[in-house]
């Protein structure tokens, strides 16, 4: 049986997203339109978040636009080889 080493992709399912946002006190801010994409500054809601990034205990967001999402995934830490 051939096995291939795997690289981890950290992901939040949309059904868990609200709880994660509440943990960082971002849920109400998001619903009020006060959370923005860190790349294009687009206003975010529960439907258009593409990625999260944890920096110094704070959550930063990108939208799901291919350019912003593409920039965000470039920052995923490479797998230790």
């Amino acid at each position: 049986m051939q096995t291939v080493p795997k690289t981890d992709l950290k992901a939040v399912h949309t059904s868990d997203l609200e709880e994660v946002l509440q943990k960082f006190n971002q849920h109400d801010a998001l619903l009020q339109g006060n959370v923005h994409c860190r790349i294009c500054n687009n206003v975010l809601n529960l439907k258009n978040i593409g990625s999260l990034k944890l920096i110094d205990g704070k959550l930063l967001f990108t939208c799901n636009d291919p350019s912003c999402y593409g920039s965000a995934v470039k920052e995923i830490k490479p797998m230790d080889s």
Binding site: M1, Q2, T3, V4, P5, K6, T7, D8, L9, K10, A11, V12, H13, T14, S15, D16, L17, E19, V20, Q22, K23, I49, G50, S51, L52, K53, L54, I55, D56, G57, N64, D65, P66, S67, Y69, G70, A72, V73, K74, E75, I76, K77, P78, M79, S81
Partner: protein, 350 residues
């Protein structure tokens, strides 16, 4: 009444089980089941796909099952492609989801970590595209990607992503072509040009087999060069392959060797029946031997459909009579103006 039950009880439990010939139905009922288990154990990606389908049924009742119906579906398709491609340094890793929740956030996430958002399994085609984009960013040519100029790397990723979607999740192709590609290529003339060249190489059977293979094998030599120098060397390789891909049938003037200081590649095309019938296989063996004595690193031997029967003789002869070692063999499709899209075998000697 009690007598009736007593009698029934005695009839049932006095039944002699040894009188049944189990062997008559055992092989029929159990063999396919064992076969399925062996198949799933030997193909974990298929087992994962079936697991994700079962999870979809339970997804309505359980968040864990819903997550699994998303991750299992994507993992099985991507890992199946990686396994089939079987190029160790081009795509050395598969993918594994790590689901982040409110409960495990602190233990899973470190400062600087990026977490992608995945929608419900009803949106798995889009989930697949998003996961693929994140995956190729990490998994494609991980050892050399830092030496490859951004516009070439991006075009390479787009062509590979499209190829993976076509083969593993064709219902996501519209999303990729209508939403992702236009955004990625908007105002990016150079990426677009490279992408068109790579798509053409892929149609002719030279993209993953030769281009990606050579980037992974020789790309490390680009370390320390100026970006413009690195780009120039890769462009030599691209131009070499592009010229071969566009060559007309029966054209003998196109160079089939590239002697760049980074990329040293030769291609030997075994197709002409008149050469084989008049001179045998010796000219091909000589060409491969000469390529290695001239300092080439890689010799790719492409044997088209109508000459496939000669591979059984030619390949052992090359292994025996030259310094090259056969690294791999691939079934590919090639395209030329005379034969159209035809099956071929490609062998790499190094």
């Amino acid at each position: 009444m009690s007598f009736y039950f007593e009698n029934l009880f005695l009839q049932i439990f006095s039944f002699d089980l040894s009188s049944i010939d189990f062997s008559s139905f055992w092989p029929v009922s159990i063999t396919p089941f064992i076969g399925i288990i062996i198949y799933l154990v030997r193909n974990p990606d298929k087992a994962e796909l079936w697991g994700s389908i079962l999870s979809q049924v339970l997804a309505f009742f359980s968040r864990k099952a819903e997550r699994r119906s998303v991750s299992g579906n994507i993992q099985s398709r991507l890992n199946s492609f990686v396994k089939k491609l079987d190029f160790d340094d081009v795509l050395p890793y598969g993918i594994k989801f790590k689901w982040v929740t409110n409960a495990n956030f602190e233990s899973f996430i470190e400062n600087g970590d990026v977490i992608v958002i995945m929608d419900t399994h009803h949106n798995n085609a889009r989930n697949f595209v998003n996961a693929l984009i994140a995956y190729t960013e990490q998994g494609l040519l991980p050892n050399v990607r830092n030496y490859i100029p951004n516009e070439i790397m991006q075009a390479t990723e787009l062509v590979l992503q499209e190829k993976i979607i076509e083969s593993q999740r064709s219902d996501a192709l519209q999303i990729f072509k209508k939403e992702i590609l236009p955004k990625k290529l908007e105002g990016e003339l150079e990426i677009n040009t490279f992408k068109n060249v790579f798509s053409n190489l892929d149609t002719k059977g030279y993209f993953d087999t030769i281009f990606l293979s050579e980037l992974s094998f020789s790309g490390g030599r680009l370390d320390g060069l100026l970006p413009s120098e690195a780009k120039s060397h890769i462009e030599h390789l691209i131009y070499f392959l592009k010229t071969i891909a566009n060559r007309k049938a029966m054209d003998d003037s196109t160079p089939l060797s590239l002697q760049d200081s980074i990329f040293k590649v030769s291609l030997v095309l075994v197709a002409k029946m008149n050469i084989i019938s008049s001179k045998g296989l010796t000219p091909y063996v000589n060409r491969i031997r000469n390529a290695f004595s001239d300092g080439q690193d890689s010799v790719y031997v492409l044997i088209r459909k109508h000459s496939l029967s000669f591979s059984d003789v030619l390949i052992p002869k090359v292994s025996k009579e030259t310094t090259g070692k056969n690294v791999w063999k691939r079934s590919v499709f090639t395209l030329d103006s005379i034969h159209g899209r035809t099956k071929a075998l490609m062998y790499l000697f190094r």
